[in-house]
Symmetry: C2
Subunit: 194 residues, 2 copies
């Protein structure tokens, strides 16, 4: 598909790569006019089940000036596998974190490609994180608790390779999860114990 073809497609239909670009640009303009709309609060609730098995619930959030709810409540079990003294009722916490990274970069790629008129036919990715459990097991003070290195491998098909690579670079530059994982964030913990 040539650039001319894409411009013609844009004029006739604001959908690209499953992204409604008219709504995307309208949203960007609305936020530019009213920056308060961009202040969001996301939330997760968690309830312990037994041992390393616990259950998270994601339902409500704040954004565009008001309390909101997802269309349904999302429930996710987490656990350790048997080799880590759990019962494998769900992924481990760090696997959810790798999943969060892949999904943030992927959504960004789709949005940015649509905004730029870049066609995508496929986005696949694999995320790997290396961790030495001597840290979290408390068996070494010189080994960190978290991942020592994370690698993301993307396979993209669609437009010219160089255009696709620039879209990935922009997604990385504007990814919430990539920023959090690479730069860190302040986390406060409050305990009501009794």
């Amino acid at each position: 598909m040539t650039t001319t073809d894409m411009t013609a497609a844009d004029a006739s239909d604001s959908m690209r790569n499953g992204v409604d670009t008219a709504t995307l640009f309208a949203t960007l303009n609305a936020v530019k006019q009213a920056p308060e709309a961009a202040k969001f609060q996301f939330r997760a609730h968690n309830q312990w089940v037994s041992g390393t098995h616990n259950r998270g619930t994601i339902a409500d959030y704040f954004g565009v000036g008001e309390e909101r709810s997802h269309e349904r409540t999302f429930v996710f079990d987490a656990d350790h596998p048997a080799v880590l003294v759990g019962r494998d009722h769900g992924p481990t916490p760090t696997e959810f974190l790798l999943h969060a990274l892949a999904t943030c970069l992927t959504a960004g790629i789709a949005n940015i490609a649509a905004a730029r008129g870049v066609t995508l036919t496929e986005i696949e990715s694999k995320v790997e994180g290396d961790i030495d459990l001597m840290g979290i097991l408390g068996l070494s003070d010189s080994v960190r608790n978290g991942f020592q290195q994370v690698r993301v491998s993307f396979v993209l098909r669609g437009d010219e390779p160089e255009k696709l690579r620039r879209v990935v670079e922009q997604s990385r530059a504007r990814s919430a999860v990539f920023d959090i994982l690479t730069n860190g964030i302040p986390v406060a913990i409050d305990v009501d114990a009794g």
Copy 2:
């Protein structure tokens, strides 16, 4: 329950808070003898569906010297809500990240309490993350992409409050996800585009 009661319970039964403490201590000893067993690699796969909707799969990992598989393959959809130009087919990426934090701290609390002979009857938590989307929308260079602040609120019931608080503190000190989120990790991105 007094300390004497707990010691008696320990002798008769290695299960505490749903944690098999005999297996937990055996695992710690085994890793102490063979530190290579502690080297793990966790993974997530992701496939784009359409727009901001994509699907993550968590199935295999490496640990204790060999390739392993979870007892089943875990599949999680992610999306943006309509207010963020998505279709709400799943949580947003950053909500998965908050979920990962809650589940890591909760599993740690259960394990550490069991190892210390501390009884738990309830662990509930809420995680909130404040984010200003002016960053990821590319509308401000002075606003970061990720959360500006995350707060975790735990409610714990069981043993004496001070013991429970010390367990939470130790879980924080040995949490993989807490370390990753607060200290950051190196993330490399590779692209096969064509």
